[in-house]
């Protein structure tokens, strides 16, 4: 009971309410997907933070390489026409 279990890591995504996207909340250890969901429920939604949970094995996520960030992200920096900055958002629009 004292030995450290060799459980994989799972990424947890929580949807706070209907109509918004799932947002990454953190990680849990669990032996399989069903228990990962239960552990995520206990850790991330115990204060009514969510209405839906996703768990994904951390190993199944393909991440961009930090060394590639110049090539991937910087070219967008000087293309301000891609940003909808000239639109005024009506007050009625929430969750943007």
């Amino acid at each position: 009971m004292s030995s450290k279990a060799d459980w994989p890591l799972w990424e947890v995504f929580v949807r706070a309410k209907r109509g918004v996207s799932h947002v990454h909340a953190g990680t849990v250890h669990a032996p399989d997907a069903e228990l990962a969901l239960q552990n995520a429920r206990d850790l991330f939604t115990r204060r009514s933070e969510g209405v839906s949970l996703w768990v994904v094995k951390s190993n199944d996520i393909t991440a961009s390489d930090p060394d590639d960030s110049e090539a991937l992200f910087e070219p967008a920096g000087d293309k301000s026409f891609r940003h909808p900055t000239d639109f005024e958002l009506p007050d009625e629009v929430a969750n943007m």
């Binding site: 250890h29 399989d32 228990l35």
Partner: protein
């Protein structure tokens, strides 16, 4: 003691004593996530005990001019005043024993609270409505683990089977009925424990089958907890639970 008071204390004590055992297990679970899960179960059970003890105070009425509160029932009764079934006071042992004890209890508690929502006693029905949702989750969690331990490695299977065999003799008491139950069943405050036993047996058999574990035969059942006769380790549990309140009466955060 009024039958309704005895009945309410039995349920409150069942919840509190199981919570106390779960709290002893914190930092001993296989991973910190499971520590969280077990402590969440314990907190739900303490919440149920608080509601039941508050109601017990109302039923008992003023004693020496004051209504007894939840702390009175938890901290100021002696061990023979506790009326929990022996199952929930069984020592933790290994993780398999914690899970099997929890599962055998939850498989009882979930259908118990589900039917108690229809109690003619409005307070018990309201407590049941809240508790049934919590207990549905408890059962899901303990059942998930039971299946994984039973149908896991040779070692986990062996430990799970051994826990089932050891704890089986405490299952009968969960469905025992004496004059208290008979009186309350008569007015539909409570419901027939025999029917509940059938429901329990069915769901336990299904889960044990999935877990590739053998269901033991019903041998001699150990009883007495619900009349205040407890096992040896119980006095230590009570001592640890009550020491702070008794050493510092009226202490607060």
């Amino acid at each position: 003691m009024k039958p309704l008071l005895t009945y309410t204390l039995r349920q409150g004590d069942r919840a509190l004593i199981l919570a106390q055992r779960l709290l002893e297990a914190i930092t001993h679970a296989p991973e910190i996530e499971e520590d969280m899960a077990l402590s969440n179960l314990a907190l739900d059970l303490i919440g149920q005990a608080r509601a039941l003890y508050t109601y017990a105070g109302e039923i008992e009425g003023p004693v020496d001019g004051a209504t007894r509160d939840e702390n009175h029932y938890a901290y100021w009764r002696d061990q023979h005043d506790f009326l929990n079934p022996l199952m929930v006071e069984q020592p933790n042992g290994d993780f398999a024993q914690i899970i099997v004890r929890q599962f055998l209890h939850d498989a009882f508690a979930f259908p118990y609270w589900r039917v108690m929502q229809h109690s003619t006693d409005e307070t018990l029905a309201a407590i049941a409505a809240k508790s049934v949702k919590e207990t549905a989750y408890h059962l899901r969690h303990s059942r998930s683990w039971l299946v994984r331990l039973g149908d896991g490695t040779d070692e986990s299977h062996r430990r799970a089977q051994s826990a089932v065999d050891q704890l089986w003799r405490f299952t009968g008491e969960l469905f025992e009925h004496d004059d208290v139950e008979t009186t309350l069943v008569g007015t539909s405050v409570a419901f027939d424990p025999d029917e509940l036993h059938e429901t329990w047996r069915h769901s336990v058999a299904e889960a044990l089958g999935e877990a590739t574990l053998e269901m033991p035969d019903d041998g001699v059942m150990q009883t007495g907890g619900r009349s205040g006769h407890h096992s040896e380790s119980f006095s230590r549990l009570i001592g640890e639970m009550q020491v702070l309140a008794r050493a510092h009466p009226g202490a607060s955060w």
